[in-house]
Structures are given as C-alpha cells and as structure tokens.
C-alpha cells in the first residue's frame, strides 16, 4: 500500500473534525435494536417524571441532552440530530438506549409503509392553504 501522499494541507478548528469521534459516543455501535422505529420524523418524547436521568451514571452527556430536549416537547429524530449537531446514525443509537431504559417514548402514528388516510391529507391541504 502506498500512502496517499500529499497531506500538506493543515487542518485547524472545525476542519480537523470533532474532538470526540461521533461513534465514540455510542461506544462503537452503529445500529440500534429500535432502528426500525426511528424514522427521521419519528417523534421522541420524555416524560416529565423522569428526574432520575441526571443521576444515572451509565448515560453520556448526549443521552441526557436528548432527554432534556424532548422533555415535555416532542422532537423528531431529525430535529434532535440537527440540534445536537450529531450524525443521524449516532442519535438513533442513543435514542435506542434511552428507549431501552424507558426514559423516552417514540411515537410514529402513521406506519411508514402506508400513506396516511384521506382525512389527514385533506387536513394537510387545508392547513397549507391557511398558512
């Protein structure tokens, strides 16, 4: 194997990449058992009663961020990823952990395989018109 060669460019700050490699936060895991439920628009919500999260030593700061962000305010997987500035795959694994620990719930009212019913589509059209 030859080395790729000219690595003369210097990387500073953000260009050098994250200080912590994203998948280090998931301890190397790239998949989650709950993956199928975690579509980009699946809604994550934490119950307000879970105050114990803060003391749970097995959780990373990012886990706690997710719980805090979705406490009382449902958040989509995409929004959580954008807000935390983490790849979607990483956020999915973290949410999977939280689901397993029953710290958050995930709802996906319309099953991904089917189109929402006509009533909902009509409501979308009316809603868009009223914007």
């Amino acid at each position: 194997m030859t080395r790729g060669g000219e690595q003369t460019g210097r990387w500073f700050d953000d260009a050098a990449g994250p200080v912590v490699r994203p998948y280090a936060m998931t301890r190397g895991r790239t998949r989650s058992a709950a993956e199928g439920k975690l579509d980009l628009i699946a809604v994550v919500v934490a119950d307000a009663v879970h105050q114990r999260t803060v003391t749970d030593q097995t959780l990373s700061p990012e886990h706690i961020d997710i719980v805090e962000m979705s406490r009382g305010t449902p958040q989509s997987v995409a929004e959580l990823a954008a807000e935390l500035d983490l790849p979607v795959g990483v956020v999915r694994v973290l949410i999977g952990d939280l689901l397993h620990a029953a710290l958050v719930r995930v709802s996906r009212p319309v099953p991904p395989a089917e189109l929402p019913d006509e009533r909902i589509l009509r409501e979308v059209i009316n809603g868009l018109r009223a914007l």
Partner: protein
C-alpha cells in the same frame, strides 16, 4: 367534555402526527430555497456519516486516509396544527447516495422535483426514482431570472411524464408559490391513493 389522550394516562403532551414531503432536484435547482420559503424554522441540517462499507462504488484513490463521508440533508418544518406537523426534506444531490433516498422516501407523503429549464437533465434521475417507487410527485419548474420560460406542456414532453403528473411553474423563493407546489403534491398523492384503492 374532552379527554384528549386520556388513554395514555401519563402525560398531557400532544404527540403530533408527522408527515414528510421530499424535495428533490439537481444541484442548485433551489431545494433549500424552497424549503426555507415555507418552513417556520430556518432550514436545519442533519448529517449522516457514511463508512467505507457503505460506499463500495467510490474511488478513494488518493484519500485512503479518509474513512467517512458526510452527507447533509436540509430540512424544514411546518406546524399545520398542534397535532399535525409536516417536514420537508431536501434530498442529497449526488446520485451515489441513492440508499439514503430509500430511507427518506419510506413513508413519504409525496415529493417535489424541482426543475431548472437550463439543466433539465439534472432532474431525470429523481423523476425516474419516484416513478419506480410509486411515490406521488409534482414537477415544479423553478423560474430563474434570466432563464427562458417554457410552457408547462413543453416541460412535460421534455421529461416524458405520465399524463397525471402535475407540472407547475414556481418561484422557489416565494412563500405563496412554494405553498402551491406543496398543495399540488398532497392533492396528487390523494388522487393517486384513491385510484390505487
């Protein structure tokens, strides 16, 4: 008396029904502009890290040290009601990220294909993809300043669209115009699902 969500018995939080519409088109066709024109939030960006295993077709000669590629997807949100939220996802431009399209397309209500008449061929791949997957889409011709205007019919012919596929002229920067594009997508999706039943 209304007992909303009393069956959950745990919290009064309204969990919205979420829906998504994809916005596809060639590089520079105005995808993020259209999303931004109707979104209530500044378009957000999610990123997906791809590992070597995920992209076998890439020639990585010269960049052997690079282990991952980042694909960005911009998205916006429209809260139609407290319990009904529509997300708009701009699809990644490069063809080699088709597998990400599959994930995005799953469960999508429909799609917008933004066309630029100066580079119509840029949207062939997207049209092909949605036709194959049976996803309802509207072709929105983004009327760029300085680009020649063509009637909808010539665009339809040039793209060899099915007769039922809506083609509309739009200005992706204008909220009203972008709204009309989205309404057309949902109406078309409704018709398409009605005929399928």
């Amino acid at each position: 008396m209304v007992y909303g969500h009393s069956d959950l018995g745990r919290s009064p939080i309204v969990e919205p029904v979420t829906l998504k519409i994809l916005v596809a088109g060639g590089f520079g066709a105005g995808k993020t502009t259209l999303v931004g024109a109707v979104s209530e939030i500044k378009p957000l960006r999610t990123e997906e890290l791809l590992t070597e295993a995920g992209r076998p077709v890439d020639d990585i000669a010269g960049v052997e040290g690079k282990k991952t590629t980042t694909v960005a997807m911009d998205f916006g949100r429209i809260t139609l009601r407290e319990d009904l939220v529509l997300y708009l996802f701009g699809t990644p431009g490069q063809d080699r990220f088709w597998f990400l399209w599959d994930e995005l397309a799953t469960g999508a209500l429909g799609a917008v294909v933004l066309a630029d008449t100066r580079r119509l061929e840029d949207c062939f791949a997207a049209i092909d993809y949605f036709e194959r997957r049976g996803i309802a889409f509207t072709v929105a011709v983004n009327c760029f300043e300085g680009a020649d205007r063509y009637p909808e019919e010539s665009v339809r012919d040039a793209l060899d669209l099915d007769p039922g596929t809506p083609v509309i002229l739009c200005d992706a920067r204008e909220r009203e115009s972008a709204k009309n594009v989205l309404i057309s997508v949902v109406e078309h999706a409704m018709l398409a699902s009605a005929t399928r039943r």
